[in-house]
Amino acid sequence: MTDKTRSIDLANISLRDALDLAVLVEEEAKDRYEEFADQMELHHNPEAARFFRFMLAIEAKHESRLAERRRGLFGDEPRAVKREMIFDIEAPEYDEVRANMTLRQALDASLRAETKAFEFFEAAAEMVQMKDVQDIFTELREEEREHQALVRQEIDRLPPEGPARDDDDEIVAL
Protein backbone atom coordinates (compact mmCIF):
# COMPACT_ATOMS: atom_id res chain seq x y z
CA MET A 1 0.00 0.00 0.00
CA THR A 2 2.77 2.44 0.89
CA ASP A 3 4.40 1.89 -2.51
CA LYS A 4 1.26 3.35 -4.12
CA THR A 5 1.45 6.78 -2.50
CA ARG A 6 4.15 9.25 -1.46
CA SER A 7 3.86 12.04 1.13
CA ILE A 8 0.21 11.31 1.88
CA ASP A 9 -0.67 10.59 5.49
CA LEU A 10 -3.60 8.28 4.77
CA ALA A 11 -4.47 7.63 8.41
CA ASN A 12 -5.12 11.33 9.02
CA ILE A 13 -6.37 12.40 5.62
CA SER A 14 -9.14 15.01 5.53
CA LEU A 15 -12.36 14.60 3.56
CA ARG A 16 -11.25 17.21 1.01
CA ASP A 17 -7.91 15.50 0.46
CA ALA A 18 -9.59 12.09 0.30
CA LEU A 19 -11.89 13.35 -2.45
CA ASP A 20 -8.96 14.88 -4.31
CA LEU A 21 -7.09 11.60 -4.00
CA ALA A 22 -10.11 9.73 -5.38
CA VAL A 23 -10.37 12.11 -8.35
CA LEU A 24 -6.67 11.67 -9.12
CA VAL A 25 -6.90 7.88 -8.89
CA GLU A 26 -9.63 7.91 -11.54
CA GLU A 27 -7.73 10.47 -13.65
CA GLU A 28 -4.59 8.30 -13.56
CA ALA A 29 -6.59 5.22 -14.63
CA LYS A 30 -8.35 7.20 -17.38
CA ASP A 31 -5.03 8.49 -18.75
CA ARG A 32 -3.52 5.00 -18.71
CA TYR A 33 -6.47 3.52 -20.59
CA GLU A 34 -6.14 6.28 -23.14
CA GLU A 35 -2.44 5.50 -23.57
CA PHE A 36 -3.24 1.80 -23.92
CA ALA A 37 -5.96 2.48 -26.49
CA ASP A 38 -3.53 4.66 -28.48
CA GLN A 39 -0.87 1.96 -28.28
CA MET A 40 -3.27 -0.73 -29.47
CA GLU A 41 -4.43 1.44 -32.37
CA LEU A 42 -0.84 2.13 -33.36
CA HIS A 43 -0.08 -1.59 -33.25
CA HIS A 44 -3.17 -2.60 -35.25
CA ASN A 45 -5.10 -4.24 -32.43
CA PRO A 46 -8.55 -2.57 -32.77
CA GLU A 47 -10.34 -5.04 -30.47
CA ALA A 48 -8.16 -4.34 -27.47
CA ALA A 49 -8.16 -0.63 -28.38
CA ARG A 50 -11.97 -0.55 -28.34
CA PHE A 51 -12.10 -2.19 -24.94
CA PHE A 52 -9.54 0.21 -23.48
CA ARG A 53 -11.60 3.14 -24.83
CA PHE A 54 -14.65 1.63 -23.14
CA MET A 55 -12.76 1.52 -19.81
CA LEU A 56 -11.50 5.05 -20.40
CA ALA A 57 -15.09 6.28 -20.68
CA ILE A 58 -16.04 4.55 -17.42
CA GLU A 59 -13.10 6.03 -15.53
CA ALA A 60 -13.78 9.49 -17.02
CA LYS A 61 -17.39 9.36 -15.86
CA HIS A 62 -16.36 8.29 -12.38
CA GLU A 63 -13.73 11.02 -12.24
CA SER A 64 -16.13 13.80 -13.23
CA ARG A 65 -18.74 12.61 -10.71
CA LEU A 66 -16.17 12.72 -7.92
CA ALA A 67 -14.80 16.07 -9.07
CA GLU A 68 -18.30 17.55 -9.01
CA ARG A 69 -18.85 16.29 -5.50
CA ARG A 70 -15.54 17.80 -4.40
CA ARG A 71 -16.48 21.17 -5.94
CA GLY A 72 -19.87 21.04 -4.24
CA LEU A 73 -18.31 20.50 -0.82
CA PHE A 74 -15.09 22.48 -1.04
CA GLY A 75 -15.43 24.83 -4.00
CA ASP A 76 -12.11 26.06 -5.38
CA GLU A 77 -10.05 25.33 -2.26
CA PRO A 78 -6.52 24.47 -3.44
CA ARG A 79 -5.52 20.84 -3.79
CA ALA A 80 -2.89 19.49 -1.40
CA VAL A 81 -2.84 16.03 -2.96
CA LYS A 82 -0.99 15.98 -6.27
CA ARG A 83 -0.85 13.51 -9.10
CA GLU A 84 2.89 13.03 -8.45
CA MET A 85 2.01 11.52 -5.07
CA ILE A 86 0.18 8.47 -6.45
CA PHE A 87 1.53 5.46 -8.30
CA ASP A 88 -0.71 3.16 -10.36
CA ILE A 89 -3.46 2.81 -7.75
CA GLU A 90 -6.16 1.92 -10.29
CA ALA A 91 -4.20 2.36 -13.52
CA PRO A 92 -3.09 -0.98 -14.95
CA GLU A 93 0.71 -1.23 -14.96
CA TYR A 94 2.49 -0.50 -18.23
CA ASP A 95 3.69 -4.08 -18.53
CA GLU A 96 0.13 -5.41 -18.56
CA VAL A 97 -0.21 -4.93 -22.31
CA ARG A 98 1.31 -6.50 -25.39
CA ALA A 99 0.86 -5.57 -29.05
CA ASN A 100 -0.71 -8.92 -29.86
CA MET A 101 -2.86 -9.31 -26.76
CA THR A 102 -6.31 -10.84 -27.13
CA LEU A 103 -9.47 -9.14 -25.96
CA ARG A 104 -9.63 -11.59 -23.06
CA GLN A 105 -6.10 -10.64 -22.00
CA ALA A 106 -7.09 -6.97 -22.14
CA LEU A 107 -10.12 -7.70 -19.95
CA ASP A 108 -7.99 -9.72 -17.52
CA ALA A 109 -5.51 -6.83 -17.24
CA SER A 110 -8.36 -4.49 -16.47
CA LEU A 111 -9.82 -6.87 -13.89
CA ARG A 112 -6.46 -7.00 -12.10
CA ALA A 113 -6.39 -3.18 -12.09
CA GLU A 114 -9.90 -2.90 -10.64
CA THR A 115 -9.00 -5.52 -8.04
CA LYS A 116 -5.92 -3.64 -6.88
CA ALA A 117 -7.96 -0.42 -6.64
CA PHE A 118 -10.53 -2.28 -4.54
CA GLU A 119 -7.73 -3.53 -2.25
CA PHE A 120 -6.27 -0.03 -1.98
CA PHE A 121 -9.54 1.57 -0.86
CA GLU A 122 -10.29 -1.35 1.44
CA ALA A 123 -6.93 -0.93 3.21
CA ALA A 124 -7.36 2.87 3.24
CA ALA A 125 -10.83 2.61 4.80
CA GLU A 126 -9.41 0.48 7.61
CA MET A 127 -6.57 2.90 8.19
CA VAL A 128 -8.39 6.25 8.43
CA GLN A 129 -9.55 7.88 11.64
CA MET A 130 -12.39 10.12 10.52
CA LYS A 131 -15.83 8.65 9.97
CA ASP A 132 -16.73 10.73 6.89
CA VAL A 133 -13.44 9.77 5.21
CA GLN A 134 -13.96 6.14 6.08
CA ASP A 135 -17.40 6.33 4.47
CA ILE A 136 -15.99 7.76 1.26
CA PHE A 137 -13.24 5.15 1.02
CA THR A 138 -15.78 2.39 1.70
CA GLU A 139 -18.01 3.83 -1.02
CA LEU A 140 -15.07 3.93 -3.44
CA ARG A 141 -14.20 0.35 -2.56
CA GLU A 142 -17.74 -0.68 -3.43
CA GLU A 143 -17.58 1.20 -6.72
CA GLU A 144 -14.41 -0.69 -7.59
CA ARG A 145 -16.28 -3.88 -6.77
CA GLU A 146 -18.93 -2.82 -9.29
CA HIS A 147 -16.26 -2.14 -11.90
CA GLN A 148 -14.86 -5.62 -11.28
CA ALA A 149 -18.33 -7.09 -11.80
CA LEU A 150 -18.70 -5.13 -15.02
CA VAL A 151 -15.41 -6.46 -16.40
CA ARG A 152 -16.27 -10.01 -15.27
CA GLN A 153 -19.58 -9.70 -17.09
CA GLU A 154 -17.70 -8.75 -20.27
CA ILE A 155 -15.33 -11.70 -19.78
CA ASP A 156 -18.27 -14.08 -19.41
CA ARG A 157 -19.75 -12.81 -22.66
CA LEU A 158 -16.60 -13.64 -24.62
CA PRO A 159 -16.49 -16.64 -26.93
CA PRO A 160 -13.86 -19.28 -26.02
CA GLU A 161 -10.30 -17.99 -26.29
CA GLY A 162 -8.69 -18.03 -29.73
CA PRO A 163 -4.93 -17.94 -30.27
CA ALA A 164 -3.03 -14.68 -29.70
CA ARG A 165 -2.24 -12.74 -32.85
CA ASP A 166 1.29 -13.63 -33.85
CA ASP A 167 2.11 -10.71 -36.11
CA ASP A 168 5.53 -9.27 -35.41
CA ASP A 169 5.50 -5.55 -34.86
CA GLU A 170 7.98 -3.95 -37.19
CA ILE A 171 10.44 -1.70 -35.38
CA VAL A 172 11.95 0.78 -37.78
CA ALA A 173 15.72 0.99 -37.39
CA LEU A 174 17.41 4.35 -37.84
Binding site: D3, R6, S7, I8, D9, N12, I13, S14, D17, E35, F36, D38, Q39, M40, L42, H43, A80, V81, K82, R83, E84, M85, F87, D88, E93, Y94, D95, E96, V97, R98, A99, M101, D169, I171, A173, L174
Partner: protein, 295 residues
Amino acid sequence: MTTSNAPLPTYQAKDYKSELKPIWCPGCGDFGVVQAIYRALAAIGRPPHEIAFVSGIGCSSRIPGYTTAYGFNSVHGRALPIAQGIKIASPELLVLVAGGDGDGFSIGGGHVAHAVRRNTDITYIVMDNQIYGLTKGQLSPTSPKGLHTVTSEYGSLEEAVNPLLYVLAYGANFVAQGTPADMAGLAEVIEAAIRFPGFSFVNVQSPCVTFGEDDQQVKNHRATMQSLAKLGHDPTDRLAAMGLAQKYGKELHTGVFYKNPDPPPTMNALIKERQQVLSEKAPPRSRIFDRFLQT
Protein backbone atom coordinates in the same frame (compact mmCIF):
# COMPACT_ATOMS: atom_id res chain seq x y z
CA MET B 1 -2.63 18.97 7.73
CA THR B 2 -2.85 15.68 5.92
CA THR B 3 0.24 15.83 3.76
CA SER B 4 3.92 16.24 4.61
CA ASN B 5 5.48 19.69 4.69
CA ALA B 6 7.55 19.10 1.55
CA PRO B 7 7.36 22.16 -0.74
CA LEU B 8 4.82 21.61 -3.51
CA PRO B 9 6.23 21.51 -7.02
CA THR B 10 5.51 24.46 -9.29
CA TYR B 11 5.56 22.16 -12.31
CA GLN B 12 3.57 18.98 -12.62
CA ALA B 13 4.71 15.76 -14.22
CA LYS B 14 2.34 16.40 -17.14
CA ASP B 15 4.17 19.64 -17.95
CA TYR B 16 7.16 17.59 -19.08
CA LYS B 17 5.15 15.23 -21.29
CA SER B 18 5.16 16.13 -24.97
CA GLU B 19 2.32 15.70 -27.45
CA LEU B 20 4.24 12.96 -29.26
CA LYS B 21 2.81 9.50 -28.61
CA PRO B 22 5.46 6.86 -27.88
CA ILE B 23 5.82 4.22 -30.56
CA TRP B 24 7.48 1.69 -28.24
CA CYS B 25 6.02 -1.82 -28.19
CA PRO B 26 3.15 -2.03 -25.69
CA GLY B 27 4.60 -3.34 -22.42
CA CYS B 28 8.11 -1.94 -23.05
CA GLY B 29 9.92 -1.00 -19.83
CA ASP B 30 10.74 2.41 -21.28
CA PHE B 31 7.12 3.57 -20.71
CA GLY B 32 7.70 3.39 -16.96
CA VAL B 33 11.10 5.07 -17.25
CA VAL B 34 9.75 8.14 -19.03
CA GLN B 35 6.99 8.44 -16.41
CA ALA B 36 9.61 8.32 -13.66
CA ILE B 37 11.58 11.02 -15.49
CA TYR B 38 8.48 13.29 -15.68
CA ARG B 39 7.97 12.88 -11.94
CA ALA B 40 11.62 13.47 -11.10
CA LEU B 41 11.59 16.65 -13.22
CA ALA B 42 8.41 17.85 -11.52
CA ALA B 43 10.07 17.36 -8.15
CA ILE B 44 13.12 19.34 -9.33
CA GLY B 45 10.79 22.03 -10.70
CA ARG B 46 12.98 23.51 -13.46
CA PRO B 47 10.93 24.83 -16.41
CA PRO B 48 11.17 22.62 -19.53
CA HIS B 49 12.98 25.31 -21.51
CA GLU B 50 15.87 25.17 -19.03
CA ILE B 51 16.43 21.47 -19.64
CA ALA B 52 18.42 19.88 -22.47
CA PHE B 53 17.83 16.18 -23.05
CA VAL B 54 20.34 14.37 -25.25
CA SER B 55 20.23 10.79 -26.48
CA GLY B 56 21.94 8.50 -28.95
CA ILE B 57 20.05 6.08 -31.18
CA GLY B 58 17.89 3.18 -30.03
CA CYS B 59 14.36 2.58 -28.78
CA SER B 60 15.35 4.10 -25.43
CA SER B 61 16.98 7.07 -27.17
CA ARG B 62 13.53 8.22 -28.30
CA ILE B 63 12.92 9.52 -24.79
CA PRO B 64 13.84 13.21 -25.36
CA GLY B 65 11.08 13.49 -27.96
CA TYR B 66 8.53 12.40 -25.40
CA THR B 67 9.44 15.29 -23.11
CA THR B 68 8.89 19.03 -23.45
CA ALA B 69 12.57 19.73 -22.75
CA TYR B 70 14.92 20.73 -25.56
CA GLY B 71 15.79 17.40 -27.15
CA PHE B 72 18.63 16.11 -29.28
CA ASN B 73 18.16 12.55 -30.59
CA SER B 74 21.74 12.54 -31.80
CA VAL B 75 24.11 9.89 -33.15
CA HIS B 76 24.47 6.29 -32.00
CA GLY B 77 26.95 6.21 -29.11
CA ARG B 78 27.69 9.93 -29.12
CA ALA B 79 25.19 11.33 -26.65
CA LEU B 80 27.72 11.83 -23.84
CA PRO B 81 30.21 14.07 -25.72
CA ILE B 82 27.34 16.17 -27.07
CA ALA B 83 25.79 16.53 -23.62
CA GLN B 84 29.13 17.52 -22.08
CA GLY B 85 29.58 20.16 -24.78
CA ILE B 86 26.12 21.56 -24.09
CA LYS B 87 26.75 21.74 -20.36
CA ILE B 88 30.13 23.42 -20.77
CA ALA B 89 28.77 25.96 -23.27
CA SER B 90 25.54 26.60 -21.32
CA PRO B 91 26.21 25.90 -17.65
CA GLU B 92 22.78 27.21 -16.65
CA LEU B 93 21.00 24.31 -18.40
CA LEU B 94 20.01 21.12 -16.63
CA VAL B 95 21.46 18.45 -18.92
CA LEU B 96 20.12 14.90 -19.07
CA VAL B 97 21.41 12.08 -21.23
CA ALA B 98 19.57 8.87 -22.00
CA GLY B 99 20.14 5.83 -24.14
CA GLY B 100 20.46 2.10 -24.33
CA ASP B 101 23.00 -0.42 -23.16
CA GLY B 102 24.25 -0.77 -26.72
CA ASP B 103 24.47 2.97 -27.22
CA GLY B 104 26.29 3.50 -23.92
CA PHE B 105 28.48 0.44 -23.46
CA SER B 106 29.18 -0.77 -26.98
CA ILE B 107 29.61 1.90 -29.66
CA GLY B 108 29.66 4.69 -27.06
CA GLY B 109 31.54 2.76 -24.36
CA GLY B 110 34.74 4.74 -24.83
CA HIS B 111 33.03 7.97 -23.87
CA VAL B 112 31.78 6.79 -20.49
CA ALA B 113 35.17 6.74 -18.78
CA HIS B 114 35.90 10.29 -19.93
CA ALA B 115 32.50 11.60 -18.92
CA VAL B 116 33.13 10.16 -15.46
CA ARG B 117 36.63 11.60 -15.07
CA ARG B 118 35.65 15.03 -16.46
CA ASN B 119 32.83 15.15 -13.96
CA THR B 120 30.60 17.47 -15.96
CA ASP B 121 27.35 18.03 -14.08
CA ILE B 122 25.08 15.85 -16.23
CA THR B 123 22.84 12.88 -15.44
CA TYR B 124 23.20 9.77 -17.56
CA ILE B 125 20.23 7.38 -17.58
CA VAL B 126 20.85 4.05 -19.31
CA MET B 127 17.88 1.87 -20.18
CA ASP B 128 19.61 -1.46 -19.87
CA ASN B 129 17.50 -4.14 -21.56
CA GLN B 130 20.47 -6.40 -22.33
CA ILE B 131 19.64 -6.34 -26.06
CA TYR B 132 19.69 -4.16 -29.15
CA GLY B 133 15.96 -3.43 -29.26
CA LEU B 134 15.61 -1.01 -32.15
CA THR B 135 17.55 -3.17 -34.61
CA LYS B 136 15.49 -6.24 -33.66
CA GLY B 137 17.27 -8.27 -31.07
CA GLN B 138 21.02 -8.56 -31.55
CA LEU B 139 23.46 -9.23 -28.70
CA SER B 140 24.32 -6.18 -26.64
CA PRO B 141 27.33 -5.67 -24.36
CA THR B 142 25.18 -6.36 -21.29
CA SER B 143 23.52 -9.50 -22.71
CA PRO B 144 24.14 -12.44 -20.38
CA LYS B 145 26.63 -15.10 -21.50
CA GLY B 146 24.84 -17.90 -23.28
CA LEU B 147 22.01 -15.71 -24.61
CA HIS B 148 20.51 -16.88 -27.89
CA THR B 149 19.85 -14.03 -30.26
CA VAL B 150 19.86 -13.44 -34.00
CA THR B 151 23.60 -12.73 -33.75
CA SER B 152 24.34 -15.55 -31.31
CA GLU B 153 22.42 -18.47 -32.76
CA TYR B 154 24.16 -21.01 -30.48
CA GLY B 155 24.40 -18.77 -27.42
CA SER B 156 26.75 -15.88 -26.68
CA LEU B 157 30.32 -16.81 -25.72
CA GLU B 158 31.07 -13.43 -24.14
CA GLU B 159 30.80 -12.28 -20.55
CA ALA B 160 28.50 -9.28 -20.06
CA VAL B 161 29.80 -5.80 -19.35
CA ASN B 162 28.84 -4.73 -15.83
CA PRO B 163 27.74 -1.06 -16.19
CA LEU B 164 27.60 -0.42 -12.45
CA LEU B 165 31.07 -1.72 -11.76
CA TYR B 166 32.39 -0.01 -14.88
CA VAL B 167 31.39 3.49 -13.77
CA LEU B 168 32.30 2.86 -10.14
CA ALA B 169 35.75 1.66 -11.14
CA TYR B 170 36.31 4.84 -13.14
CA GLY B 171 35.47 6.86 -10.05
CA ALA B 172 31.86 7.95 -10.64
CA ASN B 173 30.57 9.92 -7.68
CA PHE B 174 26.89 8.99 -8.00
CA VAL B 175 25.76 5.55 -9.12
CA ALA B 176 22.25 4.15 -8.78
CA GLN B 177 19.98 1.53 -10.26
CA GLY B 178 16.21 1.33 -10.71
CA THR B 179 13.47 -0.54 -12.48
CA PRO B 180 10.04 0.49 -13.80
CA ALA B 181 8.70 -2.25 -11.50
CA ASP B 182 9.19 0.33 -8.73
CA MET B 183 8.27 3.62 -10.37
CA ALA B 184 8.32 5.59 -7.12
CA GLY B 185 11.80 4.32 -6.32
CA LEU B 186 12.97 4.98 -9.86
CA ALA B 187 11.66 8.57 -9.79
CA GLU B 188 13.45 9.06 -6.48
CA VAL B 189 16.86 7.86 -7.73
CA ILE B 190 16.57 9.92 -10.91
CA GLU B 191 15.71 12.99 -8.84
CA ALA B 192 18.66 12.31 -6.51
CA ALA B 193 20.96 11.85 -9.51
CA ILE B 194 19.84 15.17 -11.03
CA ARG B 195 20.34 16.96 -7.70
CA PHE B 196 23.85 15.53 -7.34
CA PRO B 197 26.47 18.11 -8.35
CA GLY B 198 28.59 16.30 -10.93
CA PHE B 199 28.34 13.34 -13.29
CA SER B 200 25.63 10.97 -12.08
CA PHE B 201 24.74 7.58 -13.48
CA VAL B 202 21.46 5.67 -13.24
CA ASN B 203 21.24 2.18 -14.70
CA VAL B 204 17.62 1.24 -15.30
CA GLN B 205 16.71 -2.37 -15.82
CA SER B 206 14.10 -1.63 -18.47
CA PRO B 207 12.82 -4.82 -20.07
CA CYS B 208 12.42 -5.30 -23.81
CA VAL B 209 9.21 -7.30 -24.08
CA THR B 210 9.72 -8.06 -27.76
CA PHE B 211 13.29 -9.36 -27.93
CA GLY B 212 14.23 -9.74 -24.25
CA GLU B 213 14.23 -12.76 -21.97
CA ASP B 214 11.06 -13.75 -20.12
CA ASP B 215 12.84 -13.97 -16.79
CA GLN B 216 13.98 -10.35 -17.09
CA GLN B 217 10.52 -8.84 -17.37
CA VAL B 218 8.91 -6.34 -15.02
CA LYS B 219 6.82 -8.95 -13.20
CA ASN B 220 9.99 -10.82 -12.34
CA HIS B 221 11.64 -7.60 -11.18
CA ARG B 222 8.73 -6.98 -8.86
CA ALA B 223 9.23 -10.36 -7.26
CA THR B 224 13.02 -10.28 -6.97
CA MET B 225 14.16 -6.66 -6.53
CA GLN B 226 15.95 -5.75 -3.31
CA SER B 227 16.14 -2.20 -2.04
CA LEU B 228 19.69 -1.24 -1.09
CA ALA B 229 18.33 1.05 1.63
CA LYS B 230 16.36 -1.81 3.15
CA LEU B 231 19.46 -4.01 3.03
CA GLY B 232 21.16 -1.37 5.16
CA HIS B 233 23.75 -0.48 2.51
CA ASP B 234 25.82 2.62 3.27
CA PRO B 235 25.86 4.64 0.00
CA THR B 236 28.96 6.57 1.08
CA ASP B 237 31.06 3.37 1.04
CA ARG B 238 32.50 2.94 -2.46
CA LEU B 239 34.00 -0.49 -1.74
CA ALA B 240 30.72 -1.81 -0.36
CA ALA B 241 29.02 -0.39 -3.47
CA MET B 242 31.49 -2.23 -5.69
CA GLY B 243 30.85 -5.46 -3.77
CA LEU B 244 27.13 -5.14 -4.38
CA ALA B 245 27.63 -4.06 -8.00
CA GLN B 246 29.41 -7.36 -8.65
CA LYS B 247 26.02 -9.05 -8.25
CA TYR B 248 24.80 -7.29 -11.43
CA GLY B 249 23.07 -9.83 -13.66
CA LYS B 250 22.45 -12.19 -10.76
CA GLU B 251 20.56 -10.04 -8.26
CA LEU B 252 18.49 -6.92 -8.82
CA HIS B 253 19.48 -4.21 -6.38
CA THR B 254 17.63 -0.91 -6.50
CA GLY B 255 18.54 2.47 -5.06
CA VAL B 256 21.80 4.34 -4.60
CA PHE B 257 24.97 2.25 -4.75
CA TYR B 258 27.33 5.15 -4.21
CA LYS B 259 27.03 8.85 -3.50
CA ASN B 260 30.21 10.72 -2.70
CA PRO B 261 29.51 12.64 0.53
CA ASP B 262 32.16 15.18 -0.46
CA PRO B 263 31.62 15.77 -4.19
CA PRO B 264 34.69 17.06 -6.05
CA PRO B 265 34.40 20.23 -8.17
CA THR B 266 32.58 19.82 -11.45
CA MET B 267 34.16 20.53 -14.84
CA ASN B 268 32.18 23.77 -15.07
CA ALA B 269 33.47 24.91 -11.68
CA LEU B 270 37.06 24.14 -12.71
CA ILE B 271 36.64 25.99 -15.99
CA LYS B 272 35.25 29.02 -14.19
CA GLU B 273 38.14 28.98 -11.74
CA ARG B 274 40.66 28.72 -14.60
CA GLN B 275 38.95 31.55 -16.47
CA GLN B 276 39.21 33.77 -13.40
CA VAL B 277 42.93 33.03 -12.96
CA LEU B 278 43.64 33.58 -16.63
CA SER B 279 41.57 36.72 -16.89
CA GLU B 280 43.80 38.29 -14.22
CA LYS B 281 46.96 37.28 -16.10
CA ALA B 282 45.76 37.71 -19.63
CA PRO B 283 46.64 40.89 -21.51
CA PRO B 284 43.72 42.99 -22.72
CA ARG B 285 42.26 41.73 -26.00
CA SER B 286 43.48 44.80 -27.83
CA ARG B 287 47.09 43.80 -27.04
CA ILE B 288 46.81 40.19 -28.20
CA PHE B 289 47.00 41.32 -31.82
CA ASP B 290 50.12 43.37 -31.07
CA ARG B 291 51.90 40.22 -29.93
CA PHE B 292 51.49 38.68 -33.35
CA LEU B 293 52.77 41.81 -34.99
CA GLN B 294 55.90 41.74 -32.80
CA THR B 295 56.95 38.23 -33.95
